[in-house]
Symmetry: C2
Subunit: 199 residues, 2 copies
């Protein structure tokens, strides 16, 4: 007596919804846009995901988790810490040039960050965890003698996160490869420079 089974894949539908929210934001994504992209009917959406806000939070959590997992995998791959960081930079570069949507968490923080506490907490936690992961990686780089002593690993991690988020905001207006490479090159040079011993 289990009745008719669901015809769509829940995770797949959630991914489609994620794409819509990522592109349009929360407010501008209408239910019609969502059901069309997800390939399901209104009632199925409400039965499966509750309401629009719940669906949004679930998509945002999914996005955040995916980002953290990717960063962790990159940071814990084989290779020196600095090499892994450069892979992270390369991934960041590709996303800045390809996608025109920016980082969904940055978008969320400015759109609903002031009103939606649940979303704000997700964004805040994720950014802090990403900062922690970066700080750990830089700590290892320092131990390995790969890192500049210009600033603490924590400070450098914070600068990198801010630069990434800032570029995400700019990526909406179309970034050239030069602009991205300038920023990444400056960061790279900074991280590896050895200060002159005596002024």
């Amino acid at each position: 007596m289990r009745g008719r089974p669901r015809e769509f894949d829940r995770d797949e539908a959630l991914d489609r919804a994620l794409d819509v929210f990522w592109d349009k934001g929360y407010g501008a994504a209408a239910i019609g846009d969502l059901t069309r992209a997800m390939g399901i009917g209104r009632q199925s959406l409400y039965d499966t995901f509750g309401d629009k806000h719940s669906l949004y939070l679930e998509a945002l959590r999914r996005y955040a988790e995916r980002r953290l997992v990717q960063a962790r995998e990159t940071f814990e791959a084989e290779g020196t810490p600095l090499e892994n960081l450069r892979v992270f930079f390369a991934e960041w570069r590709e996303e800045a040039l390809d996608g025109t949507c920016g980082c969904m968490m940055v978008n969320s923080s400015t759109e609903v960050g002031a009103v939606d506490e649940a979303a704000a907490r997700i964004v805040e936690n994720t950014m802090r965890r990403l900062e922690d992961l970066l700080a750990e990686l830089l700590e290892r780089a320092r131990t390995a003698g790969e890192l500049t002593d210009l600033a603490s690993p924590r400070a450098l991690a914070r600068l990198i996160v801010d630069a990434a988020n800032g570029m995400s905001a700019r990526s909406r207006m179309g970034l050239s490869a030069d602009e991205v490479d300038d920023v990444l090159g400056a960061l790279d040079a900074m991280l590896t420079v050895k200060a002159r011993p005596a002024a």
Copy 2:
């Protein structure tokens, strides 16, 4: 036969509207919020500013112009280029710690940047001009021998703009002084470091 004169100051009312848009964004700022903050009636708003979108663009232009003027004044003050840049950092620090709204242009770029072309153009032009001002300042710092040769003035300017915008996005979630100082300190150390001549 000129009739009754306007009772409110147009610029002042525009500033109040700017505050509302800055705090709530475009979509979440209702006409009622605007008229209440501006201290005028609905009809006066429409007669004076056209409609909501025109008012928003005018407020955004005002904000952008104000930011550019402030940056230019800071950069062209007495003192060495690097001293002036540090004043810029101090102003940036204060805003990141005091205001919880972030930079209005960053907020605009994520909220309406995808839909509102007029707003996107304002943001884009302003950010480019700010980058240019920073690059000129850093160029002068280089000439004066104050600047690192780790990266070009243009690249450093782009990094600074991205870091500022990224911190703006984070400021919505409440930043501690440590977090801000970490980023500013790392940037400062980077800009002034002299690379070791030989490895």
